[in-house]
Symmetry: C2
């Protein structure tokens, strides 16, 4: 199992492209299309925000009812959320045009949008963009990369990942792209993410694997505790690798889940580290908690605390704020036995033992916290469960970006 | 019922003072003492953070077991949280010294601390401060004001409020002080708040009134969603007004509750508007919700959203973020019938009707959002319940203050 170059076009039989449709941005790609040469088993998870974007409602229906899908059309700039029935119509028109251009059923076309809420997508521009893209699909890694770039909004890095592994002496590939930098606090899914794989697997097992996977990947990241209206993770599995279809759980299914986790956790961490205005990735590991549920809630409480996030920005070993964030998570525990560590790639030090300050060196602590990736470990000494969550620091630039995002 | 000048010394029989004890700050008052000439009925509500500061544990015990109390000693600079049994000892030593100096029982002395977590209070300095203060108590408004200033940390304005009203042809006064600017997301209480009143009321009714009150006042504000380890609201009622003690509910109890609410809501709004780095008070009114519980959760979701807070900072009428924050609050509702308004003292405009943008003027909207106090109204059209929550904008200065608070 190893990481390879590429994203959504890494797996066999997947093509992609992008175009500058001027949906909202000028002089950059803002639409992308991902296509499987053959019908692919489709799975997906979507936002649990009560306010759902038009493409989210569209995709949820397809994932629930359809065995297979073959294309995903995406745009950045406008989210097609808070757009009512007119937004639904625009979304369907976009899907219909993809279906016509690629000669596939309408029910095989998924959609995804990201950007400002409450504004209609100019359907004529979107349709012109789709017409451009339909004739320009390619299975090159560059095409996948171009698609990944086209869906960026306030993202500063392009998020792609691909993994290769072997089952039945067959090489299988999973590749993915995602975007997300603000309004990131996924609940059952993330801001746009498309994963393509050439594995042959049943629809049921694919959906089960995806649902289980997000709990430890995208649902464990947060930039700003704002769960988006558009979170979508779509997985297409087209069977082109040539393995015998996986229809029962076992070692092969486990290998697939492991590879999927490598892709999704990599993308999730890239999103957290590229949070709006972020200068650092903040990882919170809660260990020896009473239950998995507790560990999840505690670790997310640490990475979402504005006070922890600003302390990390200032490279300040303010463990009191970490203990405080654990304390208000809503989980019962004994603060008098908690140990807190910070860790960078090179070093780990204990800041707090049994709820009290150790005699750690502030200088060393500041050095650890100055790294690009900082890990906080909370040892609850109360059980055997653990969880890891990822966030980022809170900086001037977060305020800057969001104080005038629309304009 | 009217607002009058003053704070904790406004009601009859209450004295206060402050001193510069150098607990952590230099060249400013950092300890305060509030004293009732006679034993006063005592009530209080405290943080629900699992990590509780030493003074919080101390006070919870007194409020539960004792009918009366007579003094509150407070300090800023160090929170006495995350300080273990040593912190408990320091806290008790401070209370003991107040009891000795004022010749009152130890069980009549409440304590409150605010500041950095995980550091011990230098007990010798605290005791010297208490010795200074015990001989310097005064019932002047200036003394109350000095106490209110002494407990400030990152606060930029001093928070006092007093109300006068009449029952049984007797003038009754309620006065209070509070502090709080960061780590403000009170859960059953707020960062330090002391309220004094000369009303005669039973301990049971006083506690009941306080518990009910915080649900609509301090529990409805948030600066940063970080529930402190030290939140304490302490109420002392010494009976000096001379009314016949209130022992049953009825018109007099209701008058007291109404006056109490005027004090606590005023202080709560002052805290929200003076949130760390804040330039504006943000008020979120949710109306016509299905239940009071729903209205509370929805309104708090709006004022705690970093994306709403930064939009308010940027005077950007980004109603999509408001709708989004309502959506992820965890309450079921139909987004397609929601109306959203913004309002300042002078004007109200509708940004969103039935989930869709109106043709509002961006210029007008920006003008409203540029006011010092901005109100967002979400009409759920789904019932009859309403709630109001108060927060503030998220600014560069919040990041600045918390990126290097400890140093």
């Amino acid at each position: 199992m190893e990481k390879i170059e590429g994203g959504v076009t890494a797996a066999k039989g997947f093509l992609a492209t992008a175009t500058a449709a001027e949906i909202k941005y000028k002089n950059r790609d803002d639409m992308a299309l991902v296509y499987s040469e053959v019908p692919a088993k489709v799975a997906g998870v979507f936002t649990r925000n009560a306010v759902k974007a038009a493409p989210v409602k569209w995709d949820m229906n397809i994932v629930t009812k359809e065995e297979v899908a073959q294309a995903v059309v995406l745009n950045s700039g406008i989210a097609n959320a808070g757009t009512g029935s007119e937004g639904d119509k625009v979304n369907e028109a976009m899907a219909q045009q993809v279906a016509d251009a690629l000669q596939i059923p309408l029910s095989s076309v998924l959609t995804a949008s990201t950007g400002v809420i409450g504004v209609q997508i100019p359907v004529d521009r979107a349709q012109k963009g789709i017409a451009d893209m339909a004739g320009n699909l390619s299975d090159s890694l560059e095409a996948g990369n171009r698609a990944a770039k086209a869906i960026m909004t306030t993202d500063t890095i392009c998020k792609e990942c691909a993994i290769e592994f072997t089952i039945q002496d067959t090489t299988v590939t999973i590749g993915g792209m995602s975007k997300g930098s603000g309004m990131i606090h996924p609940d059952m899914a993330t801001m746009l993410c498309v994963i393509t794989t050439d594995i042959a697997i049943s629809k049921e097992l694919l959906q089960e694997a995806v649902k289980a996977d997000v709990k430890d990947s995208f649902n464990m990241i947060s930039v700003d505790r704002d769960t988006s209206t558009n979170d979508s993770m779509i997985v297409l599995a087209n069977g082109k690798a040539g393995n015998v279809e996986i229809t029962t759980k076992g070692q092969e299914y486990d290998s697939f889940c492991e590879a999927l986790a490598m892709v999704t956790k990599t993308l999730a961490k890239m999103m957290a580290g590229d949070g709006e205005g972020a200068t650092k990735l903040l990882e919170a590991k809660v260990i020896n908690a009473k239950s998995k549920e507790d560990a999840i809630v505690l670790s997310k409480s640490v990475i979402t605390s504005n006070l922890v996030k600003t302390a990390v920005y200032g490279s300040d070993a303010n463990w009191g704020r970490i203990l405080c964030a654990l304390g208000y998570a809503g989980v019962e525990f004994n603060p008098d036995i908690v140990d807190i560590y910070i860790e960078s790639e090179e070093k780990r030090i204990k800041l707090c033992e049994n709820g009290l300050a150790t005699d750690y060196s502030e200088e060393e602590a500041t050095k650890i916290l100055s790294a690009k990736e900082v890990t906080v470990i909370a040892d609850m000494k109360d059980g055997k469960a653990s969880a890891t969550a990822w966030g980022c620091d809170l900086t001037y630039d977060y305020v800057k970006i969001n104080g005038d995002y629309r304009s």
